[in-house]
Symmetry: C3
Subunit: 347 residues, 3 copies
C-alpha cells in the first residue's frame, strides 16, 4: 500500500498546506466516504458543504474551508492536482510488470530494448521492435515487423497485426485489436469480391486505445491516429481513417472508412461517423449523433442526423409539440371552412 | 450424449406425465424439427396447432393436447420447465472443465479452492483467490489480488484487472474485460490530462457478463454490478456505474460514467445512457433509446431522446404525417390569403 | 518484399499493357503518393486528372491516358483488377503461418488435416477437426467437437465454443467470439431465470467475421451464417439468427435474436435489428437505422425507425422546417382570429 504525507502531496502538486503537514494517507476516497488515513478531493466549490462534513485526513481543495477539521492542500487547479496524485497512487496500486517471463514466445529476431516487460503467453513476432520500458502484458500478440514505442503499455490480450506501428507512452487496453483487416468489398454479380487490405496502422505518442476497440489497417497506406488522441472502449476505427492529435473519442464510436478528424475533436459517447466525412479542428459532436456530413472547425453538432446544437435542441422540443400542432391544424381547417361558408353580412 | 426418460424429465420439472413414461430422448429440438428421440417444448398455446403435428417423442406442454401422439409432460410453467431441462442438457453437452492444466501460469501466492479448473495458457496473478468449483478457462487472465467466487465461470480469453472482485455463480463470457481503466481526462491547454483511475470493479453473485463486454474500473471507489444482473454481449459499463440487482441489459448497451440503474431495470438492445443519469427500479428502456435524463421507477421510455413510450409512439406516427402537415399549412395560407382579399359583400 | 513486373500484373488481371512491360514494382500506393517502384490504381475516371500527374511506375486504369508517363495496364474493371493484385501483395506482405508450434495445446483426439498451421498458445479441444490448409493463429481457442473448414483463417485471440462449425475459406478476425451463450432469460418473481442455450453456430464457406464480433449460439438449433456473408468489426449476431448468403454487414451492427436476413442483404454501419425481424433478399438498410419491422425484398430503408428511403429523406428535411411551421401556425391562428372578428362590411 502506498503512503504519502500531506507535505509530500503538497509538494507533488505545488499546493499550499493548511494544517499538520505530517499526517499521512494510504488511500484516496470519495468525498463522502473518506475517513482517517484517506485523501479526498474537492474539485469544485459546488460541493463545499459536503467537504465541510468530510472526515478525510487530507483534502485537496481550491480554497481554504472554515469548518473542515483535517489538513488542506489548497490548489488553484484541484483537477490537475488530482490527476498528479492519482498517478502516484496508480503506480503503487497497479505495479508495472517486470522482466520477460519464460512463458512468452519472443521471436529470436525481435528486438526488445532495455527494461521491456513481457507477460505470460505473450507472442512477439519476427522482426518486431519493442521500445525501452514498454510493457507487453500476458496473452498479447504482436505480429511481425511491428514497432512499439518506449514506455507503451499493451494490456492483456491486445492483438497487433503485422507491420503496425505504435508510438511511445501509449496505453492500449485489454483485448483491443490494432491492424485487423479493413472491410473492403466490391459487389460483382451478386457476390462480394474482397479487396485485400495491404496497408497498416500508425499510432502516435501518448495515445490511449480502450478495451475491445478495433483499429483497422488501411487499404494501401496507413490508418493514422495522431499524438495524444484518446479512444475509449468498444470503439471502431475503420480503414484509412486519420484521427487528429488530442482527439477525445468516447465509448461506442463507430468511425467509418476514410474519415478525417482534425485536432482536438471531441466525439461524445455512441457517435457514428459516415465514410469519408471530415470533422474540423476542435469540433464537438454530442452523444448519440450520426455524423453524415462534414463538420466545420469548432462546430458543435448533435442529432440522429447532425445539425448545429441549438437548432437541433429547438427541433427536439418541437417534436414534443407535434401532437398539439396536428390538433391545431385540424381546428384551423374547421374554422377556415366555417369562415368560407359564412354568408356575407352575418357575423 | 445425454439421455433422459420422460419420467426423469417430468420429475425434474414437477410435471404430469401423459403417455409412456419410459420413452427416452437424447436431444432437444425446435417444435417443427423434433422427431424420434427428441424432446420439444410448447411454451404458449399460440403454437398448439404446430404441436399437434409435432413428431417429438416427448413434449413439454402447458395443457394436454388431443392429437399429439407422443408422451406429454404437462406443466403449469413450460418456460420454467424448459429452463430446468435445458440446464441438464447443457451440463451434458458442454461438460465443465476439470483440473488445473500444467500449461497455465498460476502465481504461487494465488489461492485456488477445491475443485477449481484452470485451462491452458490461463494466468492467475499474485494474491488472487479463486472460489471452490470455479472454472477459469483457457487464455483467461486474472490479475493480482482479485477475488473470483465459487462456481463462477470465466470463459476463454476473459481479462480481469488487478484487484477486481467477482461473486459466486457468475458467468463472464469470452473475451469480456473486467476492470479496464475508466475514461477520465481533463482538458488543459488543448491537451488531455489523464486522471488515472485507481478504483476497482465489484460484481455480485449470479451475474452474467456477455462476450466482448467491458466493465471499467472506478476512479476512486468501485464500479458495482449487483447480484443477479445480466448483461449481454458487446456492452460497455463506464467507470463509477452502479448496476442494480437483477437488471437485464441487452446487447450493445453503452452505459456512461457514474450511471445508476436501480433494481430490475430493463435496457432493451442498443441503448445508450448518458453520464450521471439515474434510472429507477423496474424502469424499462425500449430498444435503441438514448437515455439523456433520469428515468422514474417503473417508467417505460423510448426514443432517440427518451419520452414516455405512448407519447413517443404518437410522435413517431406524426412524423410520418409531416409531409401532409406541411402541405396543409401551405393550403391554409393560400385560403387565408383569399379570404383576406375577399371584398365585402361577395361570396 | 514482393516484386512484380508490369507483364506479370497484366497477365494476372487480363489487362492490356501500354508501355514498357519489364518495369517492376514492389509496392502498391495511393495515386497521389505513388512513385518509382510503385503501382497505383485509377478506379474511376473521376480522378483522371490526378492520374495524369501520378508518378507511379505502373498504373491500372480503365482507359489509356494521354499524359501519363509510366506503364499502363488497361482493364475493363480496375476494381476487380485491384482486388486480384492486392491479393498477391497481401500474400507476400502477410505470409501465412506454417507448421504447428510446440507451444500450442492440441488435444490428442483433435484431427488436423494436411498443412494446418497452429500458432503459439492456441488451444484445440477434444474431437475438433481442422481442415487442410487452415491457419489457427496464436492464442485462438477452438473448443471441443468443432469443425473448421479448409483454408479458413482464425486470427489471433479468436474463441470458438464447443460444437461450432465454420466452413472453408473463412476469415474470422482477431478476438472475435463464435458460439458465446445466447441471452435467454425469463422473468419469474422479479428475478431472471436463465434459459441455457444448448444450440450451436453454423458458418458457411467464404464467410468473413470482423474483429471483436460476437455470434451467439442458438437456444436449441443453430445460429446460421450462410456462404459468402461478410461481417465487419464490433458486430453482434444474437441467438437463432439466420444470415443469408452474401450479406454485407458493416461495423457495429446489433442483430437481435431470431432475425432472418435474406440473400445479399446490406446493412450499412451501426444498424440495429429488432428480435424476430425478417429482411428480404437484396434489401438495403442505410447507416444508423433501427429495423423494428420486416423489410421487403429489395426495399431500401432508413431511419431511427425505418421507412422507405425517399420518404425518410423528406421527413428529415421537414424536421429542419419545424420551427418555421410552428411559427406559421401561430401567425395563422392570429390571422384567423382577426378575420373572425372582422365586422361585416369592412375590409
Amino acid at each position: 500500500m502506498p503512503r504519502f504525507t500531506a507535505r509530500q502531496l503538497a509538494q507533488m502538486v505545488g499546493g499550499r498546506l493548511v494544517g499538520p503537514a505530517d499526517v499521512s494517507v494510504q488511500n484516496v476516497r470519495a468525498l463522502e466516504l473518506a475517513g482517517a488515513g484517506d485523501l479526498a478531493f474537492l474539485r469544485t466549490e459546488a460541493r463545499k458543504d459536503d467537504a465541510r462534513r468530510c472526515s478525510a485526513a487530507v483534502l485537496v481543495t481550491p480554497q481554504e474551508l472554515e469548518h473542515y477539521a483535517g489538513t488542506m492542500i489548497v490548489c488553484e487547479d484541484p483537477g490537475a492536482a488530482m490527476a498528479a496524485i492519482l498517478a502516484a497512487f496508480a503506480e503503487a496500486r497497479f505495479p508495472a510488470p517486470e522482466g520477460i517471463t519464460r512463458l512468452a514466445s519472443v521471436s529470436p529476431s525481435a528486438v526488445l530494448r532495455e527494461g521491456v516487460a513481457v507477460g505470460d503467453f505473450a507472442v512477439i513476432g519476427e522482426g518486431s521492435e519493442i521500445g525501452a520500458g514498454a510493457a507487453i502484458h500476458s496473452q498479447v500478440c504482436v505480429g511481425r515487423d511491428c514497432r512499439v514505442g518506449e514506455r507503451t503499455i499493451l494490456c492483456a490480450g491486445v492483438k497487433v497485426h503485422d507491420g503496425c506501428v505504435i508510438g511511445s507512452e501509449c496505453l492500449v487496453q485489454h483485448n483491443a485489436v490494432i491492424g485487423s483487416e479493413g472491410f473492403g468489398f466490391l459487389q460483382r454479380e451478386g457476390r462480394q469480391l474482397k479487396v485485400p487490405q495491404v496497408g497498416t496502422v500508425r499510432i502516435g505518442d501518448r495515445v490511449q486505445i480502450g478495451a475491445l476497440t478495433t483499429v483497422d489497417r488501411a487499404t494501401l497506406e496507413a490508418t493514422v491516429i495522431e499524438d495524444g488522441a484518446k479512444l475509449d472502449d468498444n470503439c471502431h476505427v475503420a480503414h484509412n481513417c486519420h484521427i487528429g492529435p488530442d482527439c477525445v473519442i468516447a465509448a461506442g464510436a463507430m468511425i467509418g472508412g476514410s474519415v478525417r478528424l482534425g485536432r482536438s475533436v471531441i466525439l461524445a459517447g455512441d457517435v457514428a461517423v459516415k465514410d469519408h466525412v471530415s470533422v474540423g479542428d476542435g469540433a464537438i459532436v454530442a452523444a448519440g449523433s450520426g455524423v453524415h456530413r462534414d463538420v466545420a472547425p469548432g462546430e458543435v453538432v448533435w442529432g440522429y442526423l447532425i445539425r448545429p446544437l441549438a437548432e437541433q435542441r429547438r427541433i427536439f422540443a418541437l417534436l414534443g409539440r407535434l401532437p398539439e400542432m396536428a390538433q391545431k391544424l385540424r381546428r384551423i381547417e374547421k374554422e377556415l371552412d366555417a369562415l368560407r361558408r359564412r354568408p356575407e353580412g352575418q357575423p
